[in-house]
Amino acid sequence: MNTVPSHRPGHPIDRAVEALRPTVRGVDGIDPARSPGARELATLIMADPRDPDLARRPRRGRALWAMPVALGVAASVVAGTFLVLAPDERQELIRTLTPAGPPVADIVVEDGFVTARLLRADAEPADYRAEFAEYGVDARIVFEPVSPGMVGELVHLDTDAGTESLEEGGGIEVEEPLGECSIEDGCPAVVRIPVGHPTPVVIGFGREARPDEPYSMSQAANAPGEPLEGVELEGVTVGEIRTVLGERGLDVGFYIAPPPEGAEGYGENEMAVLSEGEVGDDRIVVDVILESPGGVYIELES
């Protein structure tokens, strides 16, 4: 075997790779602060206003296109990739060229489990899947907009065998970040999947909904943590509940009620939809359903 002693620091394999590093000569003379070529490049790049609204103005591309000509550059040169693209194409290209953001999770293998500490609720399920794939498991993480009392809760645990409870979930364990899961601040859940888990897994957590974003799941409006916690809903009048909702900053989007007896055009179990002006204060409430942040709809007795 070749045996030449090395004095380079670091892992021996890294030193072997380092020895293969091509040497670049002549680049030291190119000072990004002073070199004419580097300065011209920086100036031309910063001539772009960056503002997406401005970028949508058609004149922007032409203005940048014209600049090299004004600088005496031959007109036959093809313009830079970014400048010949339509604004939408340009935004898409930039999105693909720049890193998506911080890592989605910290993953380690410990005690027979692939253990992931989730970091981001704005990541795509495929991003998580790519991370888990490195550890030999097929798992996706999804985040569903939910009502406040369900934020951080486990809302899905699906495998090839169908939707399962944690007890039936093939040894999968989770730590729910109750009350702490949002696009802005992340979702510090912990997911443990047995090493070598044989089937695809989809794990879902509830996250805070954006303003006006419909909930994909909600629970009773008076459940713990929900906006009407502690309020008796069943049997109260619409007038009473309107007062409570007003106090708590909730708007009623619409009402549903069994259709009037003999009314035509309704299917079996189909409810009539009523607007605010069609419902008097004396109607009786069956349930208040959380629809989105600040929005509910109300089910009425017939």
Binding site: V4, P12, I30, P68, P102
Partner: protein
């Protein structure tokens, strides 16, 4: 965690860009030159990198994470370039001329580097990428994670596996992976101006 952005003025954007440009220009250019061995082409690529960075200047992490983040952009630009046709950027016209004098020298085939290089090239592209980020750009697993846009643990695993596979391949070629030949990278220069 997702980054929180505050609204910056144009002056602040320009100042941040200038700071990044001066701090990372040579590193980014070197990264591209080592991987393309094409000085003129690297001028076009470096223009694309910094144009993308300018468009996403608010997303560039602060401190030491900025440099690997820039390598991440360079990596994507390079991949995009390899998929498509060679594009010549008007933005980089004068820079391209300046880089015509730059040379990129592959390691010398003497000192056993030819054989080690052959073994290295037999590795998968993914393994070679993570190994060069560690060995050429001298990044640790945490910084490699920023370049690749993956979790720190994932980068650690990828680096560990790539090192193991390279070590095994070297042993298969009767090369002791625990020692490194000296005097690498002294071969005939590849002149960018004459390619």
């Amino acid at each position: 965690m997702p980054r929180q952005h505050r609204t910056r003025s144009r002056e602040e954007h320009v100042a941040r860009f200038e700071e990044l440009y001066e701090a990372t220009f040579r590193d980014v250019l070197g990264y591209l030159l080592r991987r393309t061995q094409d000085p003129e082409g690297a001028a076009d690529l470096v223009a694309e990198v910094f144009t993308a960075v300018w468009s996403r200047i608010d997303d560039v992490p602060s401190g030491e994470e900025a440099r690997p983040w820039m390598f991440g952009v360079a990596r994507n630009v390079l991949a995009n370039h390899r998929r498509g046709d060679r594009r010549r950027s008007a933005l980089a016209m004068r820079l391209r001329a300046e880089l015509a004098g730059v040379t990129v020298s592959p390691p010398s085939p003497e000192h056993g580097m030819g054989e080690i290089g052959r073994v290295f090239r037999s590795l998968s592209e993914q393994d070679r990428e993570v190994l060069t980020l560690a060995g050429w750009e001298r990044l640790d697993a945490g910084r490699i994670a920023v370049v690749l846009g993956c979790a720190r643990g994932t980068a650690r695993v990828r680096l560990h596996r790539a090192r193991s596979r390279f070590a095994k391949a070297l042993r298969g070629a009767d090369i002791d992976p625990g020692v490194v030949p000296s005097g690498a990278a002294t071969s005939t220069a590849l002149k960018g101006a004459t390619r």
